[in-house]
């Protein structure tokens, strides 16, 4: 030992390295420093170990050790035949898997569902990997082209016309309803006390309607002319393509700068033509499978993906509306948000399914699945609006002022400065709502749509597979499927959060 009590000290020989007296690394180190280093921790470790023991061991026993893995019907999963207390009955899942995925979708057409899911995966995966190029094209395909293709794949059916017919039809419907309203007023004026006033207003409306019908006459005439031709869809398609491309060409600046717009418009129409040809949409398309035959994972995915994709824009619009300085927009947004947040989702679905048809005019029907989709989208949209508003509130006023001082308009300030920051703040909340939406899709089973859980419950009633463990096996399986999707979303959101918040790490 060196004496350093005197003020000056010079080391004579350097000390050699030696191991620590107790191990602080590796498993032993972990046990010593983290698990058993104090009485409280010893207690917690023991409680934790017991908890694991009582949850993990029975689960593994049920799912794997005591499970029956093969068999033709319920007899394989009975204790007296298996010779032991049977856990999960996997042959049941195996037998019911098609029903759990497709519901009552006709067997011969199930390739269409497979193809749709494959398309979705092929388009979605590159969108999720930041390093891959062409995000704009990819997003356009996934968010615009894919839903249309998926509709014709899953639902089937063809088209009778194209842009021209649709525009003409829509305008005609609009015009007819105007004339109809005018005529209703006219007929009312025969009995009413304020007859002259009603008559004047009614005649005015009818006059306007007639004027519009003359205005759109060239369009409807062209539509009728095209419809009697040999190839109405293609003739209509050609006219629409020509008109839209020309408009794009001139809007983009004509001969000088419009070349690009023209080329991309033509490319888009060629792609649409290929899709129409491939799917035979001009010749009636694929056989129609009505949505009441859809079921299982298919419905769960359709409802949740549509809900997720549509609720975010709705939420953003409502959140911006709620902060608007224009009273009408603000009041509408607040009323909308508070209404949808104040009503349980089950009520929304019930109302959409059973009450809405009573209010709509007789010949006007909306498909049951679409009604549920709209209900869920608006419901989740209201929740997302409050999430987004939280993010907006976190952005200092100076950000908007700095952008305004640089001459950016309100729209550009919002979309380039405020929203990108606000949404980054609330990624956890947004994904939280997405996950909860994904699980809430199981509520559609109460309005006669058979999602994954609904199909599962329906399959319980099959006497061929009725065993004591059927229900447990089924719910375990459904739980695993839900967990995979939700956990996937959760992990991906963490990844996005880390990536987009690079600026907050200094």
């Amino acid at each position: 030992m060196t004496d350093i009590s005197s003020s000056s000290f010079v080391r004579q020989d350097l000390l050699a390295e030696r191991p620590a007296p107790i191990k602080t690394t590796g498993f032993i180190g972990l046990v010593r420093t983290r698990l058993f280093n104090s009485p409280t921790n010893i207690l917690l470790t023991i409680v934790g170990a017991l908890l694991l023991w009582f949850t993990v061991i029975p689960s593994v026993r049920f799912l794997i050790v005591d499970a029956v893995w093969s068999g033709q019907d319920r007899t394989a999963c009975l204790a007296e035949n298996a010779g032991f207390a049977v856990g999960a009955c996997w042959p049941y899942i195996q037998a019911k898997l098609p029903q759990l995925i497709y519901g009552f979708y006709p067997e011969a057409e199930r390739w269409r569902v497979d193809l749709t899911m494959l398309l979705a995966v092929v388009l979605l995966l590159p969108l999720l990997v930041p390093r891959l190029p062409a995000k704009g094209l990819n997003a356009g395909l996934f968010f615009v082209a894919f839903p249309v293709v998926a509709f014709f794949l899953l639902h089937g059916g063809g088209i009778k016309g194209f842009g021209l017919s649709w525009t003409a039809g829509l305008l005609q419907l609009f015009d007819e309803s105007i004339i109809g309203a005018g005529q209703a007023l006219l007929s009312l004026s025969k009995t009413s006390a304020i007859a002259p006033l009603l008559w004047v207003v009614g005649s005015l409306i009818v006059l306007v309607g007639t004027a519009i019908s003359w205005l759109i006459f060239p369009l409807t005439w062209l539509r009728d002319y095209v419809q009697v031709m040999g190839q109405p869809v293609w003739a209509d398609f050609g006219i629409t393509a020509a008109i839209v491309s020309l408009i794009a060409f001139f809007l983009a600046g004509g001969i000088r700068t419009g070349g690009r717009a023209l080329a991309s418009s033509i490319a888009i129409f060629i792609a649409i033509a290929i899709v129409i040809k491939l799917m035979g949409l001009d010749r009636g398309g694929l056989p129609i499978v009505t949505t009441n035959l859809w079921g299982g994972l298919l419905v769960t995915l359709v409802v949740s993906v549509t809900g997720i994709v549509t609720s975010l824009p709705i939420g953003i619009a409502l959140a911006l509306g709620r902060r608007s300085t224009i009273p009408l927009i603000r009041i509408f947004s607040i009323a909308f948000i508070e209404f949808w947040r104040g009503v349980p989702l089950i009520t929304v679905l019930f109302f959409a399914t059973y009450m809405l048809p009573l209010f709509l005019p007789g010949n006007f029907t909306v498909d049951g699945l679409v009604r549920a989709l709209i209900g869920i989208a608006l419901f989740t949209g209201a929740y997302q609006a409050e999430n987004v508003r939280g993010g907006l509130a976190a952005i200092p006023r100076g950000q908007g002022e700095a952008a305004a001082a640089l001459g950016l308009s309100w729209w550009k300030t919002t979309s380039l400065i405020v929203l990108p920051q606000a949404l980054r703040h609330v990624i956890p909340n947004l994904v939280n709502s997405f996950i909860s939406l994904f699980k809430d899709t199981s509520l559609v089973s109460i309005v006669a749509l058979f999602d994954l859980l609904g199909s599962l419950r329906a399959s319980f009633s099959d006497p061929k597979w009725s065993t004591p463990s059927t229900a447990f096996t089924g719910f375990a399986f459904a739980g695993i499927i839900y967990f995979i999707f939700c956990f996937g979303m959760s992990r991906y959101s963490l990844f996005v959060e880390r990536r987009l918040n690079a600026h907050r790490r200094s």
Binding site: A405, L406, G407, L408, H503
Partner: protein
Amino acid sequence: MSEPIVKISGLNKWYGEFHVLRDIDLAVAKGERIVICGPSGSGKSTLIRCINALEEFQEGEIVVDGIELGPNLKHVDAVRREVGMVFQSFNLFPHLTVLDNCTLAPIWVRNIPKKDAEATAMKFLERVKIPHQANKFPGQMSGGQQQRVAIARALTMNPKVMLFDEPTSALDPEMVKEVLDTMVDLAEEGMTMLVVTHEMGFAREVANRVVFMDAGQIIEANTPREFFAAPRHARTKLFLSQILR
């Protein structure tokens, strides 16, 4: 004096019942550097925020480079394109890199191609002496550096007038100097500047005119030499005696 580039006449502004700006008349010649000082709450910041319409006003008129800005704020966008502003709290966009901060407005407001906008931005970043930090995020820089980026960002829009709203008040003393040096350089190049600041040294050295405000009105305006050596109004004398100890 030639036609003023900024002409404020009869400007009155109320926050609810509170009369913040009272009959402000001020003309700024091209290339002139004006320092506005005064106690807090005297309306200095509000005045220069009115010039690029960040604040609305109820009476009077502001003309910037021939563009009229009345109480209805009709030509807001045109005025803002001619006027650059630097804030006390920098207000850089934290989610964008320094370079993107400087190219955003030229690309989205002036429709300049990205390449050209980046070249211009780099030129101005060099002028404020931080070209090597172009790919950092604002949060990774010191306050002084951030404020110099903010100056560069405003300059990329080629403004005819620059407004500074207490640009050094949020900085520690060492960083104040680097920002003031940048502003002095800018002044030497002939930029028209309106600066709200408490840096009396800067006022003495750079300003053509010092404007003293209190209770929403201009109390005294004079050349810095006259202003500091022989203040005439009693309120000015009190103010100067308190800050120049």
